[in-house]
Amino acid sequence: MNDYRYDHRTVEGFILSSIFWGVVGILVGLLISVQLWAPAANFPPYLTFGRLRAVHTNGLAFGLGVGAIFGLSFWIVMRLCKRPLLFLKLARAQLWLFNVGILAAAVTLAMGYTQSLEYAELEWPLDIAIVVLWVMFAVNVFGTILKRNEEQMYVSLWYVIATVIAVAVLYLVNNLSMPAGLWKSYPAFAGVNSANVQWWYGHNAVGFVFTTPILAMFYYFLPKSTGLPIWSHRLSIVAFWSLVFAYLWTGAHHLVYTPLPDWIQTLAIVFTLFLIAPSWGSVVNGYYTVGQDWGRMRSNYLTKFFILGITFYGLQTVQGPTQALRVVSQLIHYTDWVPGHVHMGTMGWVTMVTAASIYYVIPKIYGTTIYSEKIANIHFWLVLVGQLLFSITMWITGIRQGWMWKATDADGKLVYRNFIDTVTGNYPYWHTRTLAGIIFTVGMLFFVFNVLMTIRKGRALERERQAATQTPAAVTAA
């Protein structure tokens, strides 16, 4: 309908890159899930659990997550600003640097080059590359917004702006370090202070990579897919400001019962509880939006992705604050409960909404429809079952092991004195987790197949159209 030129190729490039790194990250995830119950599946020195876990988390958070965020944010920004990106070539360069960066990240992490800070493992040369990437992204986002052809900025743009700002602050501070060689550095902060800075960063990496940009997608693609307007604009406003305000106070809930000063822990716990409100603001808004016509759940295959996605977001944002409570933390902290929690967010919320957004965008690029709604439905059910099996299994074994660690007899002596006795009970659950991971992976492969086939279909269509426009010209010439 709009006749101005969007740079769809860059968006598509980011989506395809994101899918590629997603497959790599998920397969590494499967391997490390096997390593947990089969130590022979470690291949030292490069392919051990210790090194590969970072490849898994970075590959998925930065490869799949940020790759999709770059591509889909560009789409959202262009559409909501009613104009192409301000700097097309810069966006293309960003795509290339992104892929080179993620490749270098995977290789260097397997080689053991790490800062040992969770989600900030990459060593200083790659930190610099990431800062450059982010500046490129920011220049295009802000430039395009400043030169927009639409007076009002829609909710999704607020979330994109907040993401750009917050990630910049977080990343710059937490990665301050003293190089000691090309691939070795020591972070500037030490001890408790280092812990506090890291988890201020770590928790907000979740907030501003796995939450705000995904909410930007949710607020944009849900109404677009369903044709239903967001239920309450006022609720969007309240939820946005309270979310971006409260998130930054909560990092220390990762450090409950550590030597970090108590007041910082308590402050973090209080703000974490408050965070339920803005999170559920978006949940409620999502439900009531589709509530205008629940029939869309049947008639539009994408609606269920968004609704299940926001449901897991809702569960995630209640479970998280619960975990922050001291009485709960002392039982489940350091156990498998926590990976169970994280994977509900990533496998349930982030990939559900991202996949649905990609399903929406790819056919739009080619002016066609999805290759197969049936395959999309199979994908949906497989990732849903895989994720539920994964998370629930991990919660059970987390409580089980946490309880064994704490069990004491009447004399205050440990019931399970040998640590290994508390580990071996995990094995059946770890087997189940691998099974759940396989189910999820198969689901994601259906998704990848569907996207690739849609692109193939779209490209064939594009060629037909070109042929159709050229034929009359040939006739005229003759």
Partner: protein, 343 residues
């Protein structure tokens, strides 16, 4: 009025930045200015060159992904990691001041393997640590830890370690000037990565005294109060198993080559010839430190931990009774086996 901000991207971004900075300043930047974020326990020393090289390997191998380094102030956790042996009550759990030179902290977030914050006290044997890293399943059969045997053949580079020491000095860790750093780093020449990692692990938790109070009172003349009553021997076997003594000394007390000595042969603490029951009692109660008092060398760097903090005297005597019983069996079986060979 306020609605206008949604059509003014610059104003919007400024406000969003301030909103994001509020929590950032309150919970991250402001605490950094307070002394409580930079505590240091008395007598805390920076890692030696070898230990630092070990910490670098600990980081490189991602040990932090499975091992935490904070003992929380929870009763069951203090007991599990034997914080209750600490000389001062506050040493029972991890103290903020122990980590002053940790760039970065390595507390971790997942305890797939046990916490290592007090490992220097818990398993002080170099041999045990090295054997365990080389082949974890040989010592802990059901363990899921990967093998780190490759560390045995990798040599350390003194120049690289010196560069690391210099970088840390620039961050405020009290290492000497460049010449001094080079001298420190010379310590790692000829050492392997395994030596380094073990040295680092054994340094953990050592800034605070968690080894109990002073010397043990030993009376070699004191006798086992319950003698060799079969029920008492059976209880000894039970305690031996429950405490996991077999993990080092073998399930039947035969010892394991390169890890821990046999408890049923005629060698005691590295010297042929037995000692009275009370000597066994003392080593179990006080750990390796008692060797000096008994005047025997034992295994160099021997890592017998002290069980006095968690086992009652009766339990320890029961273990001694069971060990004596095993020795009796061994002695009785030997001629029989030899006879079988001659046949």
């Amino acid at each position: 009025m306020a609605g206008k901000i949604y059509s003014k991207p610059i104003a919007f971004s400024v406000v969003a930045t301030l909103v994001v900075l509020a929590g950032t300043i309150a919970t991250m930047a402001y605490p950094m200015l307070r002394q409580e974020m930079h505590p240091k326990v008395e007598g805390l020393k920076p890692l030696t060159a070898l230990e630092l090289a070990g910490r670098d390997i600990y980081q490189r191998e991602g040990c932090v992904n499975c091992h935490t380094q904070t003992v929380r102030p929870l009763q069951s956790e203090v007991v599990r990691y034997k914080g209750n042996r600490a000389a001062e009550p506050q040493g029972r759990y991890s103290l903020a001041g122990e980590f002053a030179y940790d760039h970065p902290f390595l507390w971790g977030s997942k305890r797939t393997g046990p916490d290592l914050a007090f490992e220097g006290w818990l398993k002080p044997s170099r041999d045990w640590q090295a054997s365990h890293l080389e082949n974890p399943q040989a010592l802990v059969p059901r363990s899921n830890m990967p093998s780190y045997a490759f560390l045995k053949t990798a040599r350390l580079d003194a120049a690289e370690v010196a560069a690391h020491l210099r970088a840390l000095r620039r961050l405020g860790v009290p290492y000497p000037d460049d010449a001094g750093v080079l001298a420190l780093a010379r310590e790692v020449e000829g050492k392997t990565e395994m030596d380094a990692l073990v040295a680092y692990v054994l340094s953990l938790g050592k800034a605070v005294d968690r080894g109990g109070k002073g010397e043990l009172e030993i009376d070699l003349a004191s006798a086992n109060p319950h003698g060799h009553d079969p029920a008492f021997v059976a209880r000894g076997r039970q305690v031996f198993d429950a405490q996991g003594c077999g993990a080092c000394h073998g399930d039947e007390g035969h010892g394991q080559e390169g890890v821990a000595p046999s408890l049923v042969d005629d060698v005691f603490l590295g010297v042929k010839g037995d000692m009275p029951d009370a000597a066994y009692f003392a080593v179990i109660k006080g750990g390796s430190d008692v060797k000096k008092q008994l005047g025997r060398p034992g295994v160099p760097d021997g890592g017998m931990q002290a069980y006095g903090g968690e086992l009652s005297d009766d339990d320890i005597w029961a273990v001694v009774a069971w060990l004596r019983n095993q020795q009796g069996h061994e002695a009785a079986e030997h001629p029989h086996e030899e006879g079988a060979e001659h046949r």
